[in-house]
Symmetry: C2
Subunit: 504 residues, 2 copies
């Protein structure tokens, strides 16, 4: 078989082969392809998709002519050659998201990725109708990342069975050595739909919300590892995939600490594209300093509740810090699920000025238990429009990302020294703000424009005139005449301060 | 030579030998002794003390009969045998301090070590008169740890030369391969005096406050390593020694990151007693998760300035967190040296309720530049008596150490669940406090006594009657009748809440 076709950069070139269907092809048949671009070689695992169909999915990262040859322990699948041309990406395709500037993210084409994530753990296991509604909701939302589980979820407000299961067999009689292609085709369709919406899929590979009901939380090590390799072989070519080893990994009492290291290593080794890798905690943090962790995925709402907390994690890990769970906007009795919309928006701003990222979730009681946090559906809360406002602010911020300017001293001020500042005031509501910036990158005579941002009411109000700075203090610059900015006496205000006139 | 003598447990048994003085004994003569207790063997390095005198210092940790035999590449020093009896420790000798209960410290005999540290970087390099004054001041202070540099210091307010130098030679012509025994005898005398006062000596092995003036900050690797081994051989037998690889390690631009790992490994390998090991940061944290770090020694004043910050480091490192530098009480222009006494005391309480430890320092301008933080002398500030008050509170607290009760949710409450609580209110000054505790370890009907602690005015005021708790909330217990504690409307208050009646 020789195929000549075109695929856009960071799209998927899929090689489809017909092969044996006898025995258990999932474990007995090995298949991979060596893709070549000039001297470069990329080894990509294939997978069995049932009914004698084998697939190898490849996401090319370089434009031009690629060739491949397959390898297998079955003659029918071995030595198949082909070629294709990788063409420029279509609009909106910026490639996979990578770590950029130590603490931030960017797409492979260099476009900054300003993360405004949300959480719908089991949305892809709810049946077509609700899932399509979720996609519609997401398409109109500010969210550009969804945390979602591969396995179905059983937990408070989550008692329904999914439309299908990842393994062959049935409850109590799973065959963990045989995957259920129907499940995976359904699941990857959803990932593809998110990709078309420009939304990253932060795939949660294990989670404790099973409690042995299905038993996907307590498979043996060989089954865990086989599952991971199968998931990576099927899904890694989707450019919007991230790998989250688990949600609340430490609540999975069946796993040992070393298991998590092994999962990371398997996923890292199997993924030809180096998608982002993380693991999310319950009460105990994983050591995010380990080399296979690309960014710290942290559950800790307290850390973004007030100033000077979130920033501490940056120094420790030297990697992007993502608070993937900070409690949810909602009204359920559980304390992790009943913060106000104001608090949720405040958490995002806290995370932002700490040089970190925050994830959204929503848990409003619903007559049919359709809570966004788990099942998707529609959003009922008031935070999403405000998160869209924050996103619009970030879109015109320096592409390098928002950095604390004077960490450990000024917990309100972040941005890019000498050029751009966000000063967030949180719940305080002073009637005026003394223009004052940390000295880094400043020189007397520089001029700045100031705007007052109302993060809740979503307004941007320019302050008249420019602020010309003077060096009258060892550590802080002020404006001539110690000029102050009048404020409307509301909480949740921020100041955007931008240098005007010539840049260095 | 055969010596029969007595030494108390965790005291020093010193073997003194006469040997060659020709050549360079510091590098040419190797000497060690194998100490034996039953089947146990401890290998201890000796050192050359000048004038043909060699010493081997040993701190026995077990009572009873010990023997030893020396080894050397010089016949005069080799095969010397001796024995001694290790007797019970004298009052006040509890042995070296160790990590206990993951986040806390205890002496080797199990006595809790409630750390109230201070900082006098160069006090031991100021000449006898001032050094004796410093010792007198310390003897009347609450401090049970001093951070102090082995090398002299040159920095703002520190321009004087020390009485003597660690190496032979003179400035510009040091012989880093020859130590100056006079310096070391003087220095270890001070360590011994601290030991007699019950004060731990957190020895800072390298520091950047040299800037090439003496050049002890930029020796070659062989000299660094030789110096470390010599320091450990001379000093490790003092039970009050801790090893701090550096102050502001990242400000030593001559060192590479790997150097610090090597220093740790050398010290750990050379020290037969496993004294505590740490390294103190400037702007960049060392990875305190590394196995040779016993506790995180952190400079970050912001982390103890407000609630919910310090506690975050605990989860990350899973080791004791010691904020060895949180800015200093004083009035110098530098912002790290002009916090108020109130702020200093507040920092200690913040650290305490976060389950961490804080260090004191003082920088009041002085006509002869005698600032406590660097040179010692006398204390001018108002925080030390309040730190003594805190120490008195800790002395009756549970021996396991103060633990956050509901981390990430309740940033005010720490202690031991079900038994003992400190609730710190910081700068807030509510007129009353609703009795309320996190559910952990509680059951309806338990009774508690409440005292109001004024951490600044150093008073303990019992609240009349007992508080009998009811379970009227999912996460928090209240007192019957939702009883409140009236407060005097002052800042810096804490509540001490102790279970009364039967214990579980």
């Amino acid at each position: 078989m020789s195929v000549q076709s075109q695929v856009e950069q960071w799209g998927i070139h899929e090689v489809v082969l017909k092969g044996p269907s006898s025995g258990n092809p999932f474990v007995e048949v090995s298949l991979s392809a060596l893709f070549r671009y000039g001297r470069r070689k990329v080894d990509v695992a294939g997978f069995y998709d049932g009914d004698g169909i084998y697939r190898i999915r490849f996401m090319p990262d370089t434009r031009g002519q690629w060739t491949y040859v397959t390898r297998s322990n079955r003659k029918a699948l071995s030595g198949k050659r082909g070629a294709f041309t990788c063409t420029p990406p279509s609009p909106g395709n910026h490639g996979p998201v990578r770590v950029a500037n130590t603490f931030h993210f960017a797409y492979a084409d260099g476009t900054p990725y300003r993360q405004i994530g949300t959480t719908c753990y089991a949305w892809a296991h709810q049946g077509d109708k609700l899932e399509q509604q979720t996609l519609r909701t997401l398409s109109r939302s500010p969210f550009n990342k969804v945390r979602m589980c591969v396995f179905p979820k059983r937990y408070a407000f989550n008692q329904n069975e999914p439309p299908c299961y990842p393994f062959a067999g049935r409850r109590g009689r799973w065959d963990f050595a045989r995957f259920n292609p129907k499940f995976w085709r359904r699941f990857e369709k959803r990932i593809g739909q998110l990709r078309e919406l420009g939304i990253e899929a932060d795939l949660i590979l294990f989670h404790p919300y099973d409690g042995g009901h299905w038993g996907f939380d307590r498979m043996d090590a060989a089954s865990d590892d086989r599952y991971l390799r199968y998931a990576v072989a099927r899904l890694a070519a989707y450019r919007n995939v991230w790998w989250s080893m688990a949600n609340e990994f430490d609540f999975m009492k069946e796993k040992k600490p070393a298991d998590w290291d092994r999962y990371f290593r398997i996923v890292k080794g199997a993924d030809p594209y180096g998608h982002l890798r993380s693991v999310h905690n319950g009460r105990r943090l994983y050591d995010h300093g380990k080399p296979w962790v690309t960014h710290a995925s942290i559950q800790n709402g307290m850390a973004v509740e007030d100033f000077g907390r979130a920033v501490l994690y940056r120094d420790v890990y030297g990697k992007p810090i993502v608070f993937d769970e900070v409690r949810y906007e909602g009204n359920i009795p559980q304390r992790w699920g009943n913060i106000t919309a104001q608090e949720m928006v405040h958490d995002f701003w806290q995370g932002t000025i700490a040089g970190t990222y925050v994830g959204h979730g929503e848990t409003y009681l619903h007559p049919r238990d359709i809570l966004w946090w788990s099942k998707g559906g529609v959003l009922h809360g008031q935070s999403p429009p405000r998160l869209a406002f924050l996103k619009s602010i970030l879109e015109t911020a320096p592409p390098e990302g928002i950095e604390p300017i004077d960490k450990w001293w000024d917990v309100h001020t972040a941005g890019k020294a000498g050029e751009y500042y966000l000063v967030y005031l949180g719940r305080e509501r002073p009637a005026e703000w003394l223009f004052e910036l940390p000295r880094h990158g400043l020189a007397e005579g520089m001029e700045f424009a100031v705007e007052v941002l109302d993060t809740w009411n979503m307004t941007v109000t320019p302050v008249e005139g420019v602020f010309r700075i003077i060096a009258d203090d060892k550590y802080r610059y002020h404006a001539q005449g110690h000029r102050k900015v009048p404020l409307p006496g509301l909480p949740y205000l921020a100041l955007r301060i931008t240098r005007v006139g010539e840049r260095r």
